[in-house]
C-alpha cells in the first residue's frame, strides 16, 4: 500500500519521489528520545481519528460483504454468497473491463490536456492566460452529472441543440452523446481541471534556469519540454493522474446517463443497480465495492512506478528566481486552440445550455420556441426545503474542510516531525479511503455508526464523518508536502531560543502552513459541496443538502428546476472561493499553492 505522501499534489520543492521525501523528513524530525506524555496523547488522538473516520467504516463494509443481508436488518448471519457472486463468477468481467477502459482514457486525456494547458499558461507566451485560468477552474464548480445532462441537451442525435444545426445543413446529426465516446469525452471535460490545478503550481514554481540551460546547449522547445520540464512536473502529474483514475473509475452517474442507452456501463453502475433494485442487495453492493478497491490499487501501482522513476530529479529550489514565460513561436497557436476548444466544450456550451434550460419548462429539443420559457424554476428557490438544504450545505461545506485541515496538520506533524513509534501506520491507513467509491464508503459509514453510541446517526455529522474519511487523504498529502517545505532550521532556532513544541508550532510552523492549508481547504470545499454519492445514503430527516436536492429534482423529472438550483450552487461555490481568496489572499492557481 502506498503511503499518504503518494496521493495528492506534489509540491514544488518536493518534486522528488517518496523515497527522498522520506529521507528529508527523517532529517527534519525533532531528535528527541523517549515518549513524552504529549507524544502519547497525540499518538492516541491520531489512532482514534484514524479509527473513527477511516477504519470503522472500512471494517463495517468488509463485515457487510460477508453477511447474508444488510447489517441494518439486525439478525444477520455470516455468508459467502455475495463474495462468491462477485469473485466466483464471470458476470461482472465486462463491466470491470469497461471501468478500466473509461478510467484509462479519461486519465490519459485529462492529464494531456490539463498539463499541457497548465504548462502553456504558466511557462509560455500563449495569449489569454488569465481567461484560461478561469476556464480550467469553472468546470469544477458544477456537478459532472448536471454537466452531462447539459450535454444530452446539446448533443443527443435527434434533439440536441448542436445537432439541430447539422440537421438543418445535412439532414443528419453529427454527434451522439449516448455512446461510449460520449461517456469518455464528457468525463474528460470534467476531470481535466484536476490535472490543470495539480500541475500549475509546479510549473509556476519551476526554476527557469534549468530550461535555459537546456536551450543554451542546443535543445529545441520540444526537447526541453520532454527532457527537462516534463520530468520535473512528473510527480504532480502522477498525483493528479491517480486522483482522476480513482474518481473516474468510481463514477456511476455519467456512464448511467450516457452509456446505458448504448449498452455501455461500468462497475459503479452495477453497484448503484444493486442498491436501487427492489429489494436492494447490500452485501453484493459492498462486495462489488471491494472490486473497485482493486481497481484503485492498480492506479496506485502505476503512480508508484511513475514517481519512483522521477527520484533522480531531486529538489528544485522554490525561492530566489523570477519565472519567465518562454516564447514558443507558432506552437502557441496550437496551445491557444486547445485552450479555446476546451473552454468552449467544458464551459461555454454546457453552461449556456444550463442557463437556457433553467428558463425553460422542459427540455424541448429542436422544437425550442418562446412558449417554452418560464421563470418558475427560480421561484422554487426560497421554498422550505431549499432553505433547509442551503443551511445544511453551508454547515457541511464549512465544517468538513476545516476538520480535514486541522486533522491533516496534526497528523502530518506526527508523521514528519516526531519519532513516535508507529507513525508510519497513519500514512498507510489514511490512504485506504481513496480507493473506496463514495457510495460504498457512505454505506460503510452508515453501517459503522447506526449502532454506535456516538450521537451522529441521523444528524448532518454522519455526512461530515463520511466526507472527512473520504477527503482526509487529500488534506494530509497537501499538509505533508507543505510541512516538508519548511526547513527544520526555522523550528530549531525557535527551540534554541527556548520555545517548546507548542510555541514553535504556533509561532513558526502554523503561520508558514497558512497558505497551503487554505488551498487544501478550498479544494476539499469544492469536492464536498458537489459530492453526492456518499450523501445519497447518509442524509437523514433534517439533513437534506443542496447536491441531494438537485439529484432528487432530476430523479423526478424536474430537470430544468434542477438546472436553476445547480447554477445557484455553482454561484454559491464561486462566492465562497472568491471570499476566501479575497480575505486570505489565496489564489488556487498561483505559486503560493503547494
Amino acid at each position: 500500500m502506498a503511503s499518504v505522501t503518494d496521493i495528492a499534489p506534489t509540491s514544488v520543492s518536493s518534486s522528488d519521489g517518496p523515497e527522498p521525501e522520506e529521507r528529508v523528513a527523517a532529517k527534519q524530525r525533532f531528535s528527541r528520545g523517549g515518549l513524552g506524555a504529549l507524544d502519547l496523547a497525540v499518538m492516541g488522538l491520531s489512532v482514534v481519528v484514524m479509527g473513527i473516520f477511516v477504519l470503522l467504516p472500512l471494517f463495517a463494509l468488509a463485515f457487510g460483504a460477508l453477511q447474508d443481508q444488510s447489517p441494518t436488518a439486525g439478525d444477520t448471519n455470516w455468508s459467502l454468497r455475495a463474495v462468491q457472486q462477485v469473485y466466483g463468477s464471470t458476470q461482472y468481467v465486462g463491466q470491470i473491463i469497461n471501468t478500466f477502459e473509461i478510467a484509462v482514457w479519461v486519465t490519459v486525456f485529462a492529464l494531456a490536456i490539463g498539463t499541457t494547458m497548465a504548462w502553456a499558461v504558466a511557462r509560455t507566451d500563449t495569449p489569454y492566460s488569465g481567461f484560461f485560468e478561469i476556464m480550467f477552474l469553472a468546470p469544477m464548480l458544477m456537478s459532472p452529472f448536471v454537466g452531462a445532462t447539459a450535454w444530452v441537451a446539446l448533443a443527443a442525435p435527434e434533439s440536441g441543440f448542436l445537432n439541430a444545426i447539422f440537421w438543418a445543413l445535412f439532414d443528419a446529426p453529427v454527434f451522439n452523446v449516448f455512446s461510449k465516446t460520449g461517456v469518455i469525452l464528457v468525463m474528460i471535460l470534467y476531470f481535466t481541471p484536476y490535472a490543470y490545478l495539480f500541475s500549475i503550481g509546479t510549473f509556476r514554481g519551476m526554476d527557469p534556469s534549468l530550461e535555459e540551460a537546456a536551450r543554451m546547449t542546443g535543445a529545441n522547445n520540444v526537447q526541453t519540454l520532454r527532457r527537462i520540464t516534463l520530468p520535473l512536473v512528473k510527480p504532480s502529474i502522477a498525483a493528479a493522474g491517480l486522483l482522476i483514475f480513482v474518481l473516474s473509475s468510481e463514477m456511476f452517474s455519467i456512464p448511467g446517463l450516457l452509456g446505458r442507452p448504448a449498452g455501455y456501463t461500468n462497475l459503479p453502475y452495477e453497484i448503484y443497480l444493486q442498491i436501487r433494485r427492489s429489494p436492494p442487495d447490500w452485501p453484493v453492493a459492498a462486495a462489488l465495492g471491494t472490486v473497485l478497491v482493486w481497481v484503485a490499487l492498480v492506479g496506485m501501482y502505476f503512480y508508484r512506478r511513475m514517481t519512483k522513476a522521477s527520484k533522480r530529479f531531486v529538489t528544485i529550489s522554490g525561492k530566489g528566481f523570477r519565472p519567465h514565460r518562454m516564447n514558443i513561436g507558432k506552437l502557441k497557436y496550437a496551445t491557444l486552440g486547445l485552450g479555446l476548444t476546451y473552454a468552449l466544450l467544458a464551459n461555454i456550451l454546457p453552461y449556456s445550455a444550463l442557463i437556457l434550460g433553467s428558463f425553460l419548462k422542459y427540455m424541448p429539443g429542436r422544437d425550442l420556441n418562446l412558449t417554452h420559457f418560464t421563470l418558475d424554476n427560480y421561484t422554487y428557490i426560497g421554498g422550505r426545503h431549499f432553505v433547509q438544504a442551503t443551511r445544511n450545505t453551508l454547515v457541511l461545506s464549512v465544517t468538513t474542510p476545516t476538520m480535514i485541515v486541522l486533522l491533516a496538520v496534526i497528523l502530518a506533524f506526527i508523521v514528519l516531525r516526531t519519532q513516535i513509534r508507529g507513525r508510519g501506520l497513519i500514512d498507510t491507513i489514511a490512504t485506504f479511503p481513496v480507493a473506496v467509491p463514495g457510495i460504498v464508503f457512505g454505506i460503510g459509514v452508515l453501517w459503522a455508526y447506526f449502532l454506535n453510541p456516538l450521537p451522529i446517526y441521523g444528524t448532518i455529522f454522519l455526512i461530515v464523518f463520511a466526507y472527512v474519511g473520504r477527503y482526509l487523504p487529500q488534506g494530509l498529502r497537501i499538509a505533508s508536502s507543505a510541512l516538508l517545505q519548511i526547513h527544520k532550521d526555522l523550528e530549531d532556532s525557535a527551540r534554541i531560543h527556548g520555545a517548546n513544541t507548542i510555541q514553535t508550532l504556533r509561532r513558526i510552523t502554523l503561520p508558514l502552513l497558512k497558505a497551503p492549508m487554505l488551498y487544501a481547504w478550498i479544494l476539499v470545499f469544492m469536492l464536498v459541496v458537489r459530492e453526492i454519492s456518499a450523501a445519497i445514503v447518509l442524509y437523514g430527516p433534517g439533513s437534506l443538502i443542496l447536491s441531494v436536492l438537485i439529484w432528487d429534482l432530476m430523479d423526478f423529472g424536474r430537470v430544468t428546476t434542477a438546472y436553476a438550483v445547480g447554477l445557484l450552487l455553482t454561484l454559491f461555490v464561486l462566492i465562497i472561493v472568491l471570499i476566501v481568496r479575497r480575505f486570505f489572499g489565496i489564489d488556487l492557481t498561483k505559486r503560493d499553492a503547494p
Binding site: 443527443a156 427492489s278 422542459y362 444528524t459 430523479d555
Partner: protein, 400 residues
C-alpha cells in the same frame, strides 16, 4: 449486528473530541424542539381549557371544524404531540406539497418530510428499527413487496382509517398495517408532434406490440428493469398475464427494433418529450408531468395494463403515534387523496376520487383503464420468479 467493544472504545474516545461540536449542534436542535413542544403544550392546554370552560370560543370551534369525524382519543394526544416525521419514497417536492396540504388542514401538527429513494430509505428504516430508536411516524414506500416484509416483521401498527372502506378488496391486502396511497400504471408515451399518422395508428391499434413494430425501428426508448422497479413490474406483469412463451418472443421482436435502455423513467420520458425518441413505455406519472409542462407528449394505456401501488402505514413504536394516525387517516381520506392527485399527478386508489390531472383535458385523451381493468403482480410469485424473469429478459437483450 452486535455492538463490539472496539467500536465502543473508539466511539467513547471520539465522543470527547467531537463532543463540543456535537453539543453545539444538538443543543440548537434541542432548543428548537423544546420551543415547538412548549408551543404545542400551550396549544393543547388551550384547547382543553377552551373545551372545559369556554366552549364555543373560536379555538375550539376551529379545532372541531377542522377535525370533523376524527376520534377525540386520537385528536387530543395528536395535538399534544404536535409533530410527526414522514419517511417517503415519493418525490420530495410532491411530498412536501402534500405535507403542506395536511398542515393547512391541521395547523397544530408540523410534518417533517424525509424523502429518500426506496433502497436507502429501507436501509435507514431498518437501521432505526435495529437501533431501537424509531424516528419515522409514517412510512410510505413504493415497493409493496418490501412493505410486505416489514408487515410480516411487525414493523407497522394496526390502524384502520375510515377511507379504507372505499378501497377495493384487492388493494387491502396489508390491512390493518398498510394502505395504498396511489395506483401507478404503465402507459405508452409518445411524441405526438413527431409521430406520423400511420405511426399513431399503430400505437392505438397494436398497443404494446407497437414497440416491436418496424415503423419504430431505432426510435424506441425503454427503461432498464434491472434498475427500475416500475419496468420490472411492467414486463413481469405482461409475462404473468400473457405467458413466458409469448413474452420471450415479444421481447426478441422488440430487441430486433434496436431500442435504447435508460437507467430510469426520467431520461426516457425526457427523451420522448424532446423528440430524441418517439415512443416509450413508462410510469404514467412522468408522461402526465411532461404533458403538464407543455411537452408534446400523448399517451395510451395498452392492455394488459401493468399496475402497482405505493403503500403507507403507521410505524410501530412511532414517537408520535397519534399524529401519525391522524396523518394516515387524512391521507387515505377522499380529501387527502384529492390533494395527492393534485400534488403528485398520481392516480388515487380510491375509486370515489375523480381524476383531475391535466391530461384528461388533452385532445388525445379518450379515457383511461379502471382499476378493474388493471393487472397487478402476485407479489410472492414475482419474488420467486425474479431469476427466471431476468433470464428471459437478458436472453432477449444479450448486449443490454
Amino acid at each position: 449486528m452486535k455492538n463490539n467493544p472496539l467500536v465502543g472504545l473508539l466511539a467513547g474516545v471520539l465522543g470527547v473530541i467531537v463532543g463540543a461540536v456535537a453539543i453545539v449542534q444538538l443543543g440548537s436542535v434541542r432548543s428548537d424542539i423544546e420551543a415547538v413542544r412548549a408551543a404545542n403544550v400551550a396549544l393543547s392546554s388551550q384547547v382543553a381549557e377552551s373545551a372545559d370552560l369556554i366552549a364555543g370560543t373560536s379555538v375550539l370551534a376551529d379545532a372541531l371544524e377542522r377535525t370533523q369525524g376524527i376520534d377525540l382519543e386520537i385528536l387530543l394526544p395528536a395535538i399534544d404531540e404536535g409533530k410527526l416525521t414522514w419517511y417517503t419514497a415519493a418525490a420530495l417536492e410532491a411530498s412536501n406539497l402534500q405535507a403542506q396540504s395536511f398542515m393547512e388542514r391541521y395547523p397544530f401538527i408540523e410534518v417533517e418530510v424525509f424523502r429518500q429513494t426506496g433502497g436507502p430509505l429501507a436501509e435507514r428504516f431498518n437501521a432505526d428499527n435495529t437501533r431501537g430508536e424509531i424516528v419515522a411516524d409514517v412510512l410510505l414506500h413504493s415497493s409493496p413487496s418490501e412493505f410486505g416484509t416489514w408487515v410480516d416483521q411487525g414493523r407497522f401498527a394496526n390502524y384502520i382509517p375510515k377511507g379504507a372502506a372505499d378501497l377495493p378488496d384487492s388493494l387491502r391486502i396489508f390491512e390493518p398495517s398498510g394502505y395504498p396511497d396511489r395506483i401507478v400504471t404503465i402507459a405508452l408515451v409518445y411524441n405526438e408532434q413527431l409521430v406520423t399518422p400511420e405511426q399513431e395508428e399503430i400505437i392505438k391499434t397494436k398497443g404494446w406490440e407497437a414497440l416491436a413494430d418496424p415503423a419504430f425501428k431505432g426510435r424506441v426508448a425503454l427503461v432498464d428493469p434491472a434498475l427500475a422497479g416500475s419496468a420490472f413490474n411492467h414486463y413481469y406483469i405482461m409475462s404473468q398475464e400473457l405467458g413466458y412463451d409469448y413474452m420471450a418472443d415479444f421481447l426478441a421482436r422488440v430487441s430486433a427494433n434496436d431500442p435504447v435502455f435508460f437507467a430510469s423513467n426520467v431520461p426516457a420520458s425526457g427523451s420522448v418529450g424532446s423528440g430524441e425518441y418517439l415512443i416509450t413505455p413508462i410510469v404514467e406519472f412522468f408522461g402526465i408531468d411532461q404533458f403538464a409542462l407543455g411537452a408534446p407528449v400523448a399517451m395510451t394505456w395498452p392492455s394488459p395494463v401493468p399496475a402497482y401501488y405505493g403503500t403507507m402505514g403507521v410505524v410501530e413504536g412511532a414517537p408520535n403515534p397519534n399524529a401519525a394516525r391522524l396523518f394516515v387517516e387524512w391521507f387515505i381520506s377522499e380529501e387527502g387523496q384529492r390533494a395527492w392527485v393534485r400534488n403528485y399527478n398520481v392516480k388515487s386508489a380510491n375509486p370515489n376520487v375523480t381524476d383531475t390531472r391535466a391530461h384528461i383535458r388533452a385532445p388525445w385523451f379518450t379515457g383511461q383503464p379502471t382499476l378493474a381493468e388493471s393487472s397487478f403482480a402476485d407479489l410472492e410469485q414475482q419474488a420467486a420468479e425474479r431469476d427466471k424473469f431476468f433470464a428471459m429478459f437478458n436472453a432477449a437483450f444479450p448486449s443490454r
